[in-house]
Symmetry: C3
Subunit: 170 residues, 3 copies
Protein backbone atom coordinates (compact mmCIF):
# COMPACT_ATOMS: atom_id res chain seq x y z
CA UNK A 1 0.00 0.00 0.00
CA UNK A 2 1.28 3.42 -0.96
CA UNK A 3 0.82 6.45 1.21
CA UNK A 4 -1.86 8.83 0.04
CA UNK A 5 -3.10 12.09 1.53
CA UNK A 6 -6.46 13.50 0.47
CA UNK A 7 -8.04 16.78 1.58
CA UNK A 8 -11.79 17.32 1.33
CA UNK A 9 -12.76 20.92 2.02
CA UNK A 10 -15.94 22.99 1.60
CA UNK A 11 -18.58 24.95 3.43
CA UNK A 12 -20.89 23.63 6.14
CA UNK A 13 -23.40 21.03 4.85
CA UNK A 14 -21.76 20.91 1.45
CA UNK A 15 -21.30 17.14 1.46
CA UNK A 16 -17.72 16.86 2.76
CA UNK A 17 -18.29 13.93 5.13
CA UNK A 18 -20.36 11.98 2.61
CA UNK A 19 -17.63 12.35 -0.03
CA UNK A 20 -14.89 11.40 2.43
CA UNK A 21 -16.69 8.27 3.48
CA UNK A 22 -17.30 7.33 -0.15
CA UNK A 23 -13.60 7.81 -0.97
CA UNK A 24 -12.66 5.71 2.07
CA UNK A 25 -14.93 2.84 1.09
CA UNK A 26 -13.43 2.84 -2.41
CA UNK A 27 -10.08 2.14 -0.72
CA UNK A 28 -11.06 -0.23 2.06
CA UNK A 29 -13.88 -2.40 3.37
CA UNK A 30 -12.92 -1.65 6.95
CA UNK A 31 -11.99 2.02 7.17
CA UNK A 32 -11.08 3.91 10.30
CA UNK A 33 -12.98 6.98 11.44
CA UNK A 34 -10.90 9.44 13.49
CA UNK A 35 -13.30 11.69 15.39
CA UNK A 36 -11.58 14.87 16.58
CA UNK A 37 -14.61 16.59 18.07
CA UNK A 38 -14.81 17.47 21.72
CA UNK A 39 -18.46 16.58 22.39
CA UNK A 40 -19.43 19.42 24.68
CA UNK A 41 -23.22 19.70 24.39
CA UNK A 42 -26.37 18.00 23.21
CA UNK A 43 -26.58 19.90 19.92
CA UNK A 44 -23.19 18.56 18.99
CA UNK A 45 -23.90 15.04 20.24
CA UNK A 46 -26.87 15.00 17.86
CA UNK A 47 -24.62 15.91 14.91
CA UNK A 48 -22.24 13.11 15.86
CA UNK A 49 -25.12 10.64 16.01
CA UNK A 50 -26.37 11.57 12.53
CA UNK A 51 -22.88 11.01 11.09
CA UNK A 52 -22.48 7.67 12.90
CA UNK A 53 -25.85 6.39 11.65
CA UNK A 54 -24.83 7.07 8.07
CA UNK A 55 -21.64 5.05 8.44
CA UNK A 56 -22.06 1.28 8.80
CA UNK A 57 -20.71 -1.09 11.44
CA UNK A 58 -17.68 -1.97 9.31
CA UNK A 59 -16.07 1.26 10.46
CA UNK A 60 -13.70 1.44 13.43
CA UNK A 61 -13.91 4.68 15.38
CA UNK A 62 -11.01 6.37 17.17
CA UNK A 63 -11.71 9.43 19.30
CA UNK A 64 -8.69 11.72 19.43
CA UNK A 65 -9.02 15.43 20.08
CA UNK A 66 -5.39 16.57 19.82
CA UNK A 67 -2.53 14.07 19.51
CA UNK A 68 -3.38 12.23 16.30
CA UNK A 69 0.15 10.83 15.95
CA UNK A 70 -0.43 8.57 18.98
CA UNK A 71 -2.30 6.33 16.51
CA UNK A 72 -0.34 4.34 13.93
CA UNK A 73 -2.65 3.71 10.99
CA UNK A 74 -0.19 1.78 8.80
CA UNK A 75 -2.02 -0.12 6.09
CA UNK A 76 -5.36 1.47 6.98
CA UNK A 77 -7.65 3.93 5.23
CA UNK A 78 -8.77 6.67 7.59
CA UNK A 79 -11.16 9.60 7.50
CA UNK A 80 -10.12 12.38 9.87
CA UNK A 81 -13.29 14.33 10.64
CA UNK A 82 -12.57 17.06 11.03
CA UNK A 83 -9.51 19.27 10.83
CA UNK A 84 -11.49 22.27 12.07
CA UNK A 85 -12.26 20.56 15.39
CA UNK A 86 -8.65 19.43 15.70
CA UNK A 87 -7.46 23.00 15.06
CA UNK A 88 -9.97 24.29 17.61
CA UNK A 89 -8.74 21.90 20.29
CA UNK A 90 -5.07 22.74 19.70
CA UNK A 91 -5.83 26.48 19.54
CA UNK A 92 -7.61 26.59 22.90
CA UNK A 93 -5.10 24.29 24.59
CA UNK A 94 -2.30 26.67 23.59
CA UNK A 95 -3.62 29.97 24.84
CA UNK A 96 -5.24 30.91 21.48
CA UNK A 97 -1.75 31.54 20.09
CA UNK A 98 -1.86 31.24 16.29
CA UNK A 99 1.89 30.84 15.73
CA UNK A 100 2.40 28.22 18.44
CA UNK A 101 -0.72 26.30 17.41
CA UNK A 102 0.20 26.28 13.71
CA UNK A 103 3.65 24.97 14.55
CA UNK A 104 2.22 22.16 16.70
CA UNK A 105 -0.39 21.24 14.09
CA UNK A 106 2.17 21.01 11.28
CA UNK A 107 4.46 18.79 13.36
CA UNK A 108 1.58 16.55 14.45
CA UNK A 109 0.38 16.32 10.87
CA UNK A 110 3.81 15.28 9.61
CA UNK A 111 4.23 12.71 12.38
CA UNK A 112 0.70 11.31 11.96
CA UNK A 113 1.02 10.96 8.19
CA UNK A 114 4.51 9.44 8.25
CA UNK A 115 3.17 5.87 8.01
CA UNK A 116 1.97 4.21 4.81
CA UNK A 117 -1.79 4.68 4.92
CA UNK A 118 -4.57 6.49 3.11
CA UNK A 119 -5.42 9.67 5.03
CA UNK A 120 -8.59 11.52 4.10
CA UNK A 121 -8.77 14.85 5.94
CA UNK A 122 -12.10 16.69 6.14
CA UNK A 123 -11.79 20.43 6.67
CA UNK A 124 -13.90 23.59 6.39
CA UNK A 125 -13.75 26.69 4.26
CA UNK A 126 -14.52 29.41 6.80
CA UNK A 127 -13.00 32.58 5.36
CA UNK A 128 -15.57 33.61 2.72
CA UNK A 129 -18.09 35.34 4.96
CA UNK A 130 -16.38 38.64 5.57
CA UNK A 131 -14.16 39.72 8.45
CA UNK A 132 -15.41 38.54 11.84
CA UNK A 133 -16.33 41.20 14.40
CA UNK A 134 -14.10 39.78 17.14
CA UNK A 135 -10.33 39.26 17.24
CA UNK A 136 -10.47 35.66 18.50
CA UNK A 137 -12.49 34.52 15.48
CA UNK A 138 -10.14 36.41 13.16
CA UNK A 139 -7.17 34.62 14.71
CA UNK A 140 -8.89 31.26 14.34
CA UNK A 141 -9.72 32.03 10.72
CA UNK A 142 -6.03 32.76 10.08
CA UNK A 143 -4.96 29.52 11.73
CA UNK A 144 -7.54 27.38 9.92
CA UNK A 145 -6.70 28.96 6.56
CA UNK A 146 -2.96 28.57 6.94
CA UNK A 147 -3.27 24.97 8.10
CA UNK A 148 -5.63 24.14 5.22
CA UNK A 149 -2.97 25.52 2.88
CA UNK A 150 -0.35 23.34 4.59
CA UNK A 151 -2.42 20.16 4.24
CA UNK A 152 -3.35 20.99 0.63
CA UNK A 153 0.32 21.50 -0.25
CA UNK A 154 1.15 18.03 1.07
CA UNK A 155 -1.97 16.33 -0.31
CA UNK A 156 -2.02 14.12 -3.39
CA UNK A 157 -5.63 15.06 -4.07
CA UNK A 158 -7.79 17.98 -2.95
CA UNK A 159 -11.55 18.20 -3.38
CA UNK A 160 -13.83 21.21 -2.87
CA UNK A 161 -17.48 20.32 -2.29
CA UNK A 162 -20.26 22.69 -3.41
CA UNK A 163 -23.91 21.72 -2.85
CA UNK A 164 -22.85 18.09 -2.59
CA UNK A 165 -20.84 18.17 -5.83
CA UNK A 166 -17.13 17.32 -5.51
CA UNK A 167 -14.74 19.48 -7.53
CA UNK A 168 -11.29 17.95 -7.82
CA UNK A 169 -8.99 20.95 -7.57
CA UNK A 170 -5.68 19.08 -7.17
Amino acid sequence: MNKKIILVTGGQRSGKSELSEKLALENSDTPVYVATAHVADDEFRERVRIHQNRRGCNWTTIEEEIELSRHNLSGKTAVIDCVTMWVTNVFFKNGEDVKVSLDILKKEFDRFTSNKAVYIFVSNEIGSGGVAPNALTRKFTDLQGWFNQYIASRADEVYLTVSGIPLKIK
Copy 2:
Protein backbone atom coordinates in the same frame (compact mmCIF):
# COMPACT_ATOMS: atom_id res chain seq x y z
CA MET B 1 -40.31 20.47 -24.47
CA ASN B 2 -38.19 18.33 -22.19
CA LYS B 3 -38.02 18.87 -18.46
CA LYS B 4 -34.84 20.52 -17.27
CA ILE B 5 -33.73 21.50 -13.78
CA ILE B 6 -30.90 24.00 -13.33
CA LEU B 7 -29.38 25.17 -10.05
CA VAL B 8 -27.47 28.46 -9.87
CA THR B 9 -25.69 28.89 -6.56
CA GLY B 10 -23.06 31.27 -5.21
CA GLY B 11 -22.36 33.94 -2.65
CA GLN B 12 -24.22 37.22 -2.24
CA ARG B 13 -23.72 39.63 -5.17
CA SER B 14 -21.83 37.02 -7.18
CA GLY B 15 -24.07 37.34 -10.25
CA LYS B 16 -26.55 34.50 -9.62
CA SER B 17 -29.70 36.37 -10.68
CA GLU B 18 -28.07 37.85 -13.79
CA LEU B 19 -26.91 34.38 -14.90
CA SER B 20 -30.32 32.83 -14.19
CA GLU B 21 -32.12 35.47 -16.21
CA LYS B 22 -29.67 35.02 -19.08
CA LEU B 23 -30.20 31.24 -19.04
CA ALA B 24 -33.96 31.75 -18.97
CA LEU B 25 -33.92 34.10 -21.98
CA GLU B 26 -31.86 31.57 -23.94
CA ASN B 27 -34.77 29.16 -23.44
CA SER B 28 -37.78 31.42 -23.80
CA ASP B 29 -38.87 34.88 -24.95
CA THR B 30 -41.51 35.02 -22.24
CA PRO B 31 -40.05 33.53 -19.07
CA VAL B 32 -41.73 33.34 -15.70
CA TYR B 33 -40.20 34.85 -12.59
CA VAL B 34 -41.22 33.12 -9.34
CA ALA B 35 -40.51 35.53 -6.47
CA THR B 36 -40.34 33.71 -3.15
CA ALA B 37 -39.39 36.66 -0.96
CA HIS B 38 -41.58 37.87 1.83
CA VAL B 39 -41.19 41.62 1.39
CA ALA B 40 -41.00 42.72 4.99
CA ASP B 41 -39.22 46.06 4.95
CA ASP B 42 -38.06 48.94 2.77
CA GLU B 43 -34.48 47.68 2.43
CA PHE B 44 -35.77 44.49 0.91
CA ARG B 45 -38.35 46.26 -1.26
CA GLU B 46 -35.48 48.25 -2.75
CA ARG B 47 -33.61 45.03 -3.66
CA VAL B 48 -36.75 43.67 -5.32
CA ARG B 49 -37.10 46.87 -7.34
CA ILE B 50 -33.51 46.71 -8.61
CA HIS B 51 -34.04 43.13 -9.79
CA GLN B 52 -37.36 43.99 -11.47
CA ASN B 53 -35.86 46.94 -13.33
CA ARG B 54 -33.17 44.70 -14.79
CA ARG B 55 -35.74 42.27 -16.14
CA GLY B 56 -37.87 43.52 -19.04
CA CYS B 57 -41.65 43.59 -19.43
CA ASN B 58 -41.67 40.25 -21.29
CA TRP B 59 -41.38 38.50 -17.93
CA THR B 60 -44.44 37.25 -16.02
CA THR B 61 -44.07 37.45 -12.24
CA ILE B 62 -45.59 35.02 -9.75
CA GLU B 63 -45.30 35.76 -6.04
CA GLU B 64 -45.27 32.57 -4.01
CA GLU B 65 -43.64 32.37 -0.60
CA ILE B 66 -44.20 28.69 0.29
CA GLU B 67 -46.38 26.45 -1.86
CA LEU B 68 -44.67 26.55 -5.23
CA SER B 69 -46.48 23.45 -6.47
CA ARG B 70 -49.76 25.41 -6.62
CA HIS B 71 -48.41 26.77 -9.90
CA ASN B 72 -48.29 24.51 -12.96
CA LEU B 73 -45.55 25.81 -15.23
CA SER B 74 -45.86 23.19 -17.98
CA GLY B 75 -44.16 24.37 -21.14
CA LYS B 76 -42.71 27.43 -19.44
CA THR B 77 -39.21 28.51 -18.48
CA ALA B 78 -39.08 29.77 -14.93
CA VAL B 79 -36.52 31.39 -12.64
CA ILE B 80 -37.19 30.66 -8.98
CA ASP B 81 -35.51 33.46 -7.03
CA CYS B 82 -34.61 32.40 -4.56
CA VAL B 83 -34.42 29.06 -2.78
CA THR B 84 -32.98 30.72 0.33
CA MET B 85 -36.10 32.83 0.81
CA TRP B 86 -38.32 29.82 0.18
CA VAL B 87 -36.36 27.81 2.77
CA THR B 88 -36.63 30.73 5.20
CA ASN B 89 -40.41 30.94 4.83
CA VAL B 90 -40.90 27.17 5.28
CA PHE B 91 -38.47 27.10 8.23
CA PHE B 92 -40.27 29.82 10.21
CA LYS B 93 -43.73 28.50 9.34
CA ASN B 94 -42.74 25.12 10.80
CA GLY B 95 -41.39 26.11 14.18
CA GLU B 96 -37.77 26.32 12.99
CA ASP B 97 -37.69 22.51 12.80
CA VAL B 98 -34.96 21.43 10.39
CA LYS B 99 -36.16 17.86 9.83
CA VAL B 100 -39.81 18.79 9.26
CA SER B 101 -38.88 21.72 7.02
CA LEU B 102 -36.46 19.66 4.91
CA ASP B 103 -39.12 17.01 4.40
CA ILE B 104 -41.70 19.58 3.30
CA LEU B 105 -39.25 21.32 0.98
CA LYS B 106 -38.23 18.07 -0.74
CA LYS B 107 -41.86 17.06 -1.31
CA GLU B 108 -42.80 20.52 -2.58
CA PHE B 109 -39.77 20.50 -4.87
CA ASP B 110 -40.70 17.12 -6.35
CA ARG B 111 -44.32 18.15 -6.86
CA PHE B 112 -43.43 21.55 -8.33
CA THR B 113 -40.89 20.09 -10.78
CA SER B 114 -43.06 17.17 -11.88
CA ASN B 115 -44.32 19.03 -14.97
CA LYS B 116 -42.36 19.43 -18.21
CA ALA B 117 -40.78 22.84 -17.87
CA VAL B 118 -37.38 24.47 -17.51
CA TYR B 119 -36.79 25.25 -13.82
CA ILE B 120 -33.89 27.54 -12.93
CA PHE B 121 -33.42 27.65 -9.18
CA VAL B 122 -31.32 30.44 -7.64
CA SER B 123 -29.80 29.60 -4.27
CA ASN B 124 -27.10 30.84 -1.91
CA GLU B 125 -23.87 29.41 -0.59
CA ILE B 126 -24.02 30.43 3.08
CA GLY B 127 -21.80 27.93 4.89
CA SER B 128 -18.30 29.23 4.15
CA GLY B 129 -18.05 31.95 6.76
CA GLY B 130 -17.42 29.93 9.88
CA VAL B 131 -19.82 28.61 12.46
CA ALA B 132 -22.56 31.11 13.41
CA PRO B 133 -22.69 32.27 17.04
CA ASN B 134 -26.37 31.37 17.50
CA ALA B 135 -28.14 28.02 17.23
CA LEU B 136 -30.97 29.26 15.02
CA THR B 137 -28.56 30.36 12.29
CA ARG B 138 -26.68 27.07 12.57
CA LYS B 139 -29.93 25.17 12.08
CA PHE B 140 -30.83 27.30 9.08
CA THR B 141 -27.36 26.74 7.61
CA ASP B 142 -27.88 22.98 7.95
CA LEU B 143 -31.28 23.15 6.29
CA GLN B 144 -30.10 25.36 3.42
CA GLY B 145 -27.03 23.19 2.82
CA TRP B 146 -28.96 19.93 2.80
CA PHE B 147 -31.66 21.30 0.52
CA ASN B 148 -29.04 22.70 -1.88
CA GLN B 149 -27.53 19.21 -2.01
CA TYR B 150 -30.99 17.76 -2.74
CA ILE B 151 -31.66 20.19 -5.59
CA ALA B 152 -28.15 19.70 -7.01
CA SER B 153 -28.59 15.92 -6.99
CA ARG B 154 -31.78 16.27 -9.06
CA ALA B 155 -30.47 19.03 -11.33
CA ASP B 156 -29.33 18.50 -14.90
CA GLU B 157 -26.96 21.44 -14.64
CA VAL B 158 -25.40 23.23 -11.66
CA TYR B 159 -23.55 26.54 -11.85
CA LEU B 160 -21.44 28.21 -9.18
CA THR B 161 -20.98 31.96 -9.69
CA VAL B 162 -17.80 33.70 -8.48
CA SER B 163 -17.36 37.44 -9.06
CA GLY B 164 -19.92 37.26 -11.85
CA ILE B 165 -18.19 34.33 -13.57
CA PRO B 166 -20.30 31.16 -13.96
CA LEU B 167 -18.52 27.88 -13.28
CA LYS B 168 -20.44 24.87 -14.59
CA ILE B 169 -19.87 22.25 -11.91
CA LYS B 170 -22.44 19.68 -13.11
Copy 3:
Protein backbone atom coordinates in the same frame (compact mmCIF):
# COMPACT_ATOMS: atom_id res chain seq x y z
CA MET C 1 4.44 45.76 -22.97
CA ASN C 2 0.77 44.98 -23.36
CA LYS C 3 -1.81 45.95 -20.77
CA LYS C 4 -3.03 43.09 -18.65
CA ILE C 5 -5.53 42.99 -15.80
CA ILE C 6 -5.60 40.03 -13.42
CA LEU C 7 -8.00 39.47 -10.51
CA VAL C 8 -7.09 37.12 -7.67
CA THR C 9 -10.03 36.48 -5.36
CA GLY C 10 -10.76 34.02 -2.56
CA GLY C 11 -11.51 33.70 1.13
CA GLN C 12 -9.35 34.92 3.98
CA ARG C 13 -6.03 33.04 4.28
CA SER C 14 -6.63 31.15 1.06
CA GLY C 15 -3.32 32.14 -0.50
CA LYS C 16 -4.35 35.20 -2.54
CA SER C 17 -1.37 37.40 -1.72
CA GLU C 18 1.13 34.59 -2.24
CA LEU C 19 -0.32 33.82 -5.68
CA SER C 20 -0.41 37.50 -6.64
CA GLU C 21 3.21 38.01 -5.70
CA LYS C 22 4.20 34.88 -7.64
CA LEU C 23 2.34 36.11 -10.73
CA ALA C 24 4.00 39.52 -10.38
CA LEU C 25 7.50 38.05 -10.18
CA GLU C 26 6.82 35.98 -13.31
CA ASN C 27 6.27 39.31 -15.08
CA SER C 28 8.90 41.52 -13.54
CA ASP C 29 12.03 41.51 -11.38
CA THR C 30 11.06 44.80 -9.81
CA PRO C 31 7.33 44.78 -9.18
CA VAL C 32 5.33 47.47 -7.44
CA TYR C 33 3.22 46.79 -4.37
CA VAL C 34 0.23 49.11 -3.96
CA ALA C 35 -0.89 48.94 -0.33
CA THR C 36 -4.44 50.23 0.10
CA ALA C 37 -4.84 49.49 3.79
CA HIS C 38 -5.47 52.20 6.29
CA VAL C 39 -3.26 50.96 9.13
CA ALA C 40 -5.43 51.77 12.11
CA ASP C 41 -4.27 49.45 14.88
CA ASP C 42 -1.56 47.09 16.04
CA GLU C 43 -3.32 43.92 14.92
CA PHE C 44 -3.39 45.25 11.40
CA ARG C 45 0.17 46.56 11.53
CA GLU C 46 1.26 43.03 12.38
CA ARG C 47 -0.51 41.63 9.30
CA VAL C 48 1.20 44.25 7.13
CA ARG C 49 4.58 43.32 8.57
CA ILE C 50 4.10 39.60 7.83
CA HIS C 51 3.25 40.40 4.21
CA GLN C 52 6.23 42.76 3.85
CA ASN C 53 8.66 40.19 5.24
CA ARG C 54 7.54 37.65 2.66
CA ARG C 55 8.21 40.06 -0.19
CA GLY C 56 11.85 40.84 -0.89
CA CYS C 57 13.61 44.19 -1.16
CA ASN C 58 13.24 44.27 -4.96
CA TRP C 59 9.66 45.44 -4.47
CA THR C 60 8.70 49.13 -4.50
CA THR C 61 5.83 49.98 -2.17
CA ILE C 62 3.22 52.68 -2.78
CA GLU C 63 0.73 53.46 -0.06
CA GLU C 64 -2.53 54.72 -1.49
CA GLU C 65 -5.82 54.37 0.34
CA ILE C 66 -8.26 55.89 -2.18
CA GLU C 67 -7.03 57.66 -5.31
CA LEU C 68 -5.09 54.94 -7.10
CA SER C 69 -5.16 56.81 -10.40
CA ARG C 70 -2.74 59.42 -8.99
CA HIS C 71 -0.05 56.82 -9.71
CA ASN C 72 0.98 56.16 -13.31
CA LEU C 73 2.36 52.63 -13.46
CA SER C 74 3.14 52.50 -17.20
CA GLY C 75 5.51 49.67 -18.00
CA LYS C 76 5.31 48.30 -14.47
CA THR C 77 3.87 45.15 -12.92
CA ALA C 78 1.82 45.96 -9.83
CA VAL C 79 0.00 44.03 -7.13
CA ILE C 80 -2.90 46.00 -5.66
CA ASP C 81 -3.47 44.53 -2.18
CA CYS C 82 -6.25 44.73 -1.62
CA VAL C 83 -9.47 45.77 -3.32
CA THR C 84 -11.46 45.12 -0.13
CA MET C 85 -9.50 47.78 1.77
CA TRP C 86 -9.79 50.19 -1.13
CA VAL C 87 -13.57 49.61 -1.22
CA THR C 88 -13.73 50.10 2.56
CA ASN C 89 -11.91 53.43 2.38
CA VAL C 90 -14.09 54.77 -0.45
CA PHE C 91 -17.27 53.50 1.27
CA PHE C 92 -16.59 55.28 4.54
CA LYS C 93 -15.35 58.47 2.88
CA ASN C 94 -18.65 58.68 0.98
CA GLY C 95 -21.16 58.33 3.77
CA GLU C 96 -21.53 54.55 3.36
CA ASP C 97 -23.47 55.16 0.16
CA VAL C 98 -23.28 52.05 -2.04
CA LYS C 99 -24.32 53.68 -5.32
CA VAL C 100 -22.02 56.69 -5.00
CA SER C 101 -19.10 54.52 -3.86
CA LEU C 102 -19.53 52.00 -6.68
CA ASP C 103 -19.59 54.80 -9.22
CA ILE C 104 -16.39 56.34 -7.82
CA LEU C 105 -14.63 52.97 -7.67
CA LYS C 106 -15.48 52.10 -11.27
CA LYS C 107 -14.23 55.48 -12.54
CA GLU C 108 -11.05 55.25 -10.47
CA PHE C 109 -10.48 51.70 -11.69
CA ASP C 110 -10.85 52.73 -15.35
CA ARG C 111 -8.55 55.72 -14.91
CA PHE C 112 -5.95 53.74 -12.94
CA THR C 113 -5.84 50.88 -15.46
CA SER C 114 -5.77 53.10 -18.54
CA ASN C 115 -1.96 52.89 -18.83
CA LYS C 116 -0.06 49.93 -20.29
CA ALA C 117 0.93 47.92 -17.26
CA VAL C 118 0.25 44.58 -15.62
CA TYR C 119 -2.31 45.09 -12.85
CA ILE C 120 -2.85 42.24 -10.37
CA PHE C 121 -5.81 43.02 -8.11
CA VAL C 122 -6.24 41.04 -4.90
CA SER C 123 -9.80 40.90 -3.60
CA ASN C 124 -11.93 38.93 -1.15
CA GLU C 125 -14.93 36.66 -1.47
CA ILE C 126 -17.07 37.80 1.46
CA GLY C 127 -20.63 36.82 0.53
CA SER C 128 -20.69 33.08 1.29
CA GLY C 129 -21.27 33.21 5.02
CA GLY C 130 -24.96 34.00 5.19
CA VAL C 131 -26.69 37.34 5.50
CA ALA C 132 -25.02 39.68 8.00
CA PRO C 133 -27.06 40.79 11.02
CA ASN C 134 -26.51 44.50 10.45
CA ALA C 135 -27.45 46.71 7.49
CA LEU C 136 -24.04 48.37 7.15
CA THR C 137 -22.31 45.03 6.57
CA ARG C 138 -25.01 44.02 4.09
CA LYS C 139 -24.43 47.24 2.15
CA PHE C 140 -20.69 46.67 2.15
CA THR C 141 -21.19 43.08 0.95
CA ASP C 142 -23.28 44.41 -1.95
CA LEU C 143 -20.65 46.97 -2.87
CA GLN C 144 -17.74 44.52 -2.68
CA GLY C 145 -19.63 41.90 -4.70
CA TRP C 146 -20.67 44.31 -7.43
CA PHE C 147 -17.18 45.80 -7.70
CA ASN C 148 -15.60 42.32 -7.85
CA GLN C 149 -17.96 41.57 -10.75
CA TYR C 150 -16.90 44.80 -12.45
CA ILE C 151 -13.19 44.02 -12.12
CA ALA C 152 -13.70 40.40 -13.22
CA SER C 153 -15.60 41.54 -16.31
CA ARG C 154 -12.66 43.75 -17.31
CA ALA C 155 -9.95 41.27 -16.31
CA ASP C 156 -7.98 39.16 -18.78
CA GLU C 157 -7.49 36.47 -16.14
CA VAL C 158 -9.34 35.65 -12.91
CA TYR C 159 -8.12 33.23 -10.25
CA LEU C 160 -10.03 31.83 -7.28
CA THR C 161 -7.81 30.51 -4.49
CA VAL C 162 -8.98 27.63 -2.27
CA SER C 163 -6.69 26.31 0.48
CA GLY C 164 -3.73 27.80 -1.34
CA ILE C 165 -4.66 26.21 -4.68
CA PRO C 166 -5.27 28.63 -7.56
CA LEU C 167 -8.23 27.86 -9.81
CA LYS C 168 -8.14 29.78 -13.09
CA ILE C 169 -11.79 30.65 -13.68
CA LYS C 170 -11.30 33.12 -16.56
